[in-house]
Symmetry: C2
Subunit: 877 residues, 2 copies
Amino acid sequence: MAKYVYKFTEGNRDMRNLLGGKGANLADMTLAGMPVPQGFTVTTEACTRYYDDGRAIATEIQEEIMQNLTWLEETTGKKFGDPSNPLLVSVRSGARASMPGMMDTILNLGLNDTVVEGFAEFTGNPRFAYDSYRRFIQMFSDVVMELSKKRFEEIIDDLKEKKGVKLDVDLDTEDMKELVTRFKAFYKQEKGVDFPEDPKVQLMEAVRAVFRSWDNPRANVYRRMNEIPYSWGTAVNVQSMVFGNSGNNSGTGVAFTRNPATGEKALFGEYLINAQGEDVVAGVRTPSPISELEKEMPEVYAEFVAIANRLEKNYKDMQDMEFTIENGKLYMLQTRNGKRTAAAALKIAVDMVDEGEITEEEAVLRVEPNQLDALLHPTFDPDSLAEATVIGKGLAASPGAAAGRVVFTAEEAKEWAAKGEKVVLVRLETSPEDIEGMQVSQGILTVRGGMTSHAAVVARGMGTCCVSGCGEITVDYAAKQFTLGGAVYKEGDWISLNGSTGEIFAGAVATIPANPNSGDFGRLMGWADKFRRMQVWTNADNPRDAAQARAFGAQGIGLCRTEHMFFEGDRIKAVREMIVSEDLESREKALAKLLPYQQSDFEGIYEAMEGCPVVIRFLDPPLHEFLPTEEADIVELAGEMNISVDHLKGIIEGLHEFNPMMGHRGCRLSVSYPEIAKMQTTAVIQAAIEVQKKHPEWNLVPEIMIPLVGEVKELKYVKDVVVATADAIIAAAGVEMKYMVGTMIEIPRAALTADEVAQEAEFFSFGTNDLTQMTFGFSRDDAGKFLNYYYDTKIYESDPFAHLDQNGVGKLVAMAAELGRKTRPDISLGICGEHGGDPTSVEFCDKVGLNYVSCSPFRVPIARLAAAQATLKSKKA
Amino acid sequence: MAKYVYKFTEGNRDMRNLLGGKGANLADMTLAGMPVPQGFTVTTEACTRYYDDGRAIATEIQEEIMQNLTWLEETTGKKFGDPSNPLLVSVRSGARASMPGMMDTILNLGLNDTVVEGFAEFTGNPRFAYDSYRRFIQMFSDVVMELSKKRFEEIIDDLKEKKGVKLDVDLDTEDMKELVTRFKAFYKQEKGVDFPEDPKVQLMEAVRAVFRSWDNPRANVYRRMNEIPYSWGTAVNVQSMVFGNSGNNSGTGVAFTRNPATGEKALFGEYLINAQGEDVVAGVRTPSPISELEKEMPEVYAEFVAIANRLEKNYKDMQDMEFTIENGKLYMLQTRNGKRTAAAALKIAVDMVDEGEITEEEAVLRVEPNQLDALLHPTFDPDSLAEATVIGKGLAASPGAAAGRVVFTAEEAKEWAAKGEKVVLVRLETSPEDIEGMQVSQGILTVRGGMTSHAAVVARGMGTCCVSGCGEITVDYAAKQFTLGGAVYKEGDWISLNGSTGEIFAGAVATIPANPNSGDFGRLMGWADKFRRMQVWTNADNPRDAAQARAFGAQGIGLCRTEHMFFEGDRIKAVREMIVSEDLESREKALAKLLPYQQSDFEGIYEAMEGCPVVIRFLDPPLHEFLPTEEADIVELAGEMNISVDHLKGIIEGLHEFNPMMGHRGCRLSVSYPEIAKMQTTAVIQAAIEVQKKHPEWNLVPEIMIPLVGEVKELKYVKDVVVATADAIIAAAGVEMKYMVGTMIEIPRAALTADEVAQEAEFFSFGTNDLTQMTFGFSRDDAGKFLNYYYDTKIYESDPFAHLDQNGVGKLVAMAAELGRKTRPDISLGICGEHGGDPTSVEFCDKVGLNYVSCSPFRVPIARLAAAQATLKSKKA
């Protein structure tokens, strides 16, 4: 029979998949003899079983929980429901991967009308006992019974108003009793039954609630963002309570072994005296720095520091710890590898190598590639900054610089962002419901909460700039405005934030790009470059982007889209002239006008890439994309083209397509109009010859990529045009120049027949954007309408356009790579879809043996690190 | 070194791939001692080499041809360019598969200004000599030098007018000389050089021209229609000339060993005295029946009959023979298996079994499945026929009945047909350029030409009704009208044709469906059913089509599309109400209105199928397809729906998709709105229960097909809805009923992950229409714009929507079949795309082990025969 419940004394740190991160580490700390309030973990398998059984906890699991509860009573010498010596427990979620704040927690479970009296007597602190009780009722009603949190707060506000007090601490024991009475009355009114008095009933309901919370919307969004599979499930930790809020000799805190914002090696954290854990995390009160604990409770502090040091040594990584002090005694409630900023991640990894704690390989594996993003983003332009007015200051909760327009709700943030507006989300405090709104914001500004508040933790994880705990701000949600330093800022006003200093500015301060190629970043990336097998190239369509990518370490251009060059200035006229042409001669005339533009574009790109490989993709979109759609524009164009409006409309109408994604585009254009391929070949080869003349040391080998190929004969047809054109130009120029012709693999048929395609293609570049569309049979432009249903129903857990679908699309990629190499063993294989900058997709590319990944310039460092991690992981496996 | 030229004495009938059908059979007849004018064959490999070498004949091949020419001179005792005893040759194409009239032929090659004089003397017939010479110049100029045929005809007409004569035969020797002079002058004017006098130059140019003609547009169209690969190439036969036009003791003819229209066992054919071969085929003069030759030349006739009988015995199939009589001596110019009508094919196959010549298996293999189509099409309704007026009569050139509107050119036929009009193509005579226009016509009517004229041969091959040789008709192309029996028929007027009697009717005579289940058809199909492994199902959406398909032998319905039922009458209102609904409740209300319609549809279909399996596919198209697009209709609908026009427009706008093919459709609708799947399940299961009650012996097992699945979880989600709904209905009805849930494999990802999909799917049906679109990445609606370029450039040789692309799409089908069976060994596999009725695709389906093919009702007999042939072929292999 499966074992669904483990005592903390039965587990260890290797049982993370079964016990979750929190459970495994609690067991590990217990094993190490650290002061951990005892308890047990209900496994992740019990959670998946709960869902398999139609959201029910099997009788055998219930029995196993009860047996462990009996054991816990024996161990602690306390008893569930015994007023004279009551056992109270916390019930917390704990998944395999840390998902802070995503799921539910219930504290003080075990209290009821009789227990609370005994508890008051036992602790000698009736206010504390009744405060705990009313908190429990509140939490249980909200989390377990899904009653509105807001209604309970209204009841408290009502009482405070009646009493004429402002703060919770101004409420006395009798007030707490009054709250308990009112809360229970509200509970009965809403649920039709009394609040459950039996602690065992409370416990089973709480476990059920934690299982259920695995499937709540914010957890689903978080998992999708962080690629955590739904199938993992969460464990539930039932732990005997210790009370940080049992008086001024008690407290609770959160601390890191190093600074999670900077990586500095020094204990970092904060604590609150006479408080429970969620008071710190929720950011309702602003806590004191951990260093002050040394003065307040020197012995406890010393013990904590010793434990913290042991834990970091044990886990060889920065730890994020929760502790509680109950009547002067320290208890460890949790330890885990701490979330950190990118800068901190780099510094910690590099420092730990220097400290001899970890190897260079381990350091490379230690930094989350996506995090680097934060380092690559702009900081304030010093000139603009010099003129900017600081209007206030909060905590530097997540580094970076941001300028945006003020919005006050996550919903508004999403709406404004959807319209292309940059926004700064201003909140009293954030909560997990706000996660999507935070994601689309340039920056986040909160009135309450410390460095470990929800806003701060989540923003650092996202790499989004955040200033938290700016208590000077008064927010008026109803009027959609806030006041700071006497000035009023309304919805839509521009403000700017410096997440590295905590400064807040009026107006939009200009930003400049990041320059991360130095210090810790440089050292770590150096190691990454040493270890990785794949090259990292970039997708760049102009010299500016190419130069940026080079600065970020790109070793080539994997995708240079030529059509983007067609829209600028006078070119679009020539493009339209070509499209409107009704015979070869006029088409060639229009193309001749485009040629010098294209050639100079390519020369600029070759210059910027300093001899690195450049893959130039020929015209891809359907021609109608270049034509105007508005009446006025059509009239204007007809005038310019010297044709009648009706005639032009006829041409536009004739180009209409039912499914443009699957229409007359890509190489199909070159099959119909080989003169386009001729012009583009001429531009590429002439540009290469010109640049080569200036830089004889570069040895340029132009790579021409034919898009949307589905059949080798199609590629051969276009390649023949390219080769004839190129050879003639090279011969006429009297130079020596090699060049390559390859294709994008973006049509399923090309992947399926890659052995044939490779007879002509000298390289493959996987265009996984289109390949994903065709393989799934859904258009990216339209999928938004139904993909949310798919996420809601767990059919898809992540966006296949963000993370390569390894099961379906990946199968085609692997097949094509294998078939391609069978025909042409030295074929160059790369990826140029957006997946090229996504770490899990990069790992897949390494696995199937691609030569390089190509991604947008700002993803290049991420891909370099991800590629190194992929190589290191595959060596391990 | 490769051998590129074979003498007729060196080949045999097994060398068809190398020598082409004509060359192999000429060799074979030579081997059998039959009277064949000697010559040699330049192989198909020489042709492919010609194309590989950039359309040039390699020197080594030219030398080999010249060596064989020398041999031919020695054998015949004649000499190229020798006026006293000149060797003249014909140069004809001959591919592996017969492609009558598609490529080019040159006769009388070897004549020049001096040879013609000697030839006149040698034959004692100067008019004949100069007539041959002017014909040669004409043919060489047209075929080899691509000068306009029309200009030569104008020169002849001009001379006839000057001379005041009407017919070619009225021109005398001097006139022929005059024509030669005028033709050569025109040639020099156009080409800038003299007409080539050197016969060896003429020969090499002619060989080149035949090679080139392999790639002419009509040959390309023919190959696409008949699935003949471009890569095969054509052989060239160089044969010493014999002259059917050397006097009244000479002649030429074409004959079949059996009647190619009816299959009757009797020599059938026609001949012309004093004529060359192309006079018969071109239908310019109307020839005499072969039986008359017995009276005219009894000895020659007897020899010919003996040879014909030997040939049929040899080839065990009806032979189509060309012969020439030169001065009383018979020469065989060609024999091949003859083209025949479907009825003749059946009769010949069945008769030859009865005669003990072939086995039943051979008989089944002998009939081209696509030909059956002709037997399945309508004949005239006797009542309507009784009232119809016969306005004329021609030859019954290709059976069947047709009514359509008169058009006079192939171009017009295509234009009218594209607009949905039924047309009858009326021509003086047809030529290979007309082939596409003939294809879209209901019937073909010609003024000139016999049973073996171009029009007759091609129409029989296509299964299109044709009346030829109706000499009473006067056509005025310019006025777009014809006169017959004193009445004038203009473009657009309706006429009707009976291709089995030759009758022509004014107006549109009503037609009735064919009933082919009897006689030869019945016997042959009986054998086919005995031999085939796969079942043949049908695609039918209503009881009428289902009954038709049953009558044609369908063993089940493989695809019943439910959306077609949504458009009729009041239903569309309920459908629109559902789409416009903005909450679940109103959607369910609208669906409840649809339920009784759907249920009665399904009851009707179950009744019609008499207990055979029926696969019902759930709603597939995107919802916007059901909404109106015209302003007036939108206003009307808004009124009906009791919502504002703007609101309705908003809804319609909201449903707009960029690529509807890849949009919110198929099972994606059921994921978003499970209530649709619930309603459809209810209709299916309740219908099955009702029908089962009436027919307890049927044991109905409803099969529900979920479309557009790309991921097993998606199928599982919808299947769970179906199962919950179905189980509840079955339980409530207190009956026992099994049912199955399966899916269409039409998304590449479903094929790639078919092992996973099969965990939920109890059957797969390959939806190869959509699978082809997604695998090729082109939309069928849009591909028309560029596919012609693809045919022109030989990138694609056939329409992948007509013939399954075995290389790409087929790979996915094979993979999915294998993966599906790995998970679920007894999974039922079928195909329901249009490919299910295409013989080559059916053969592929057999090869990958599908259980059935499903096709439209009229293709069912074709699929039955194709399936039998597939089994027989795979047994052979």
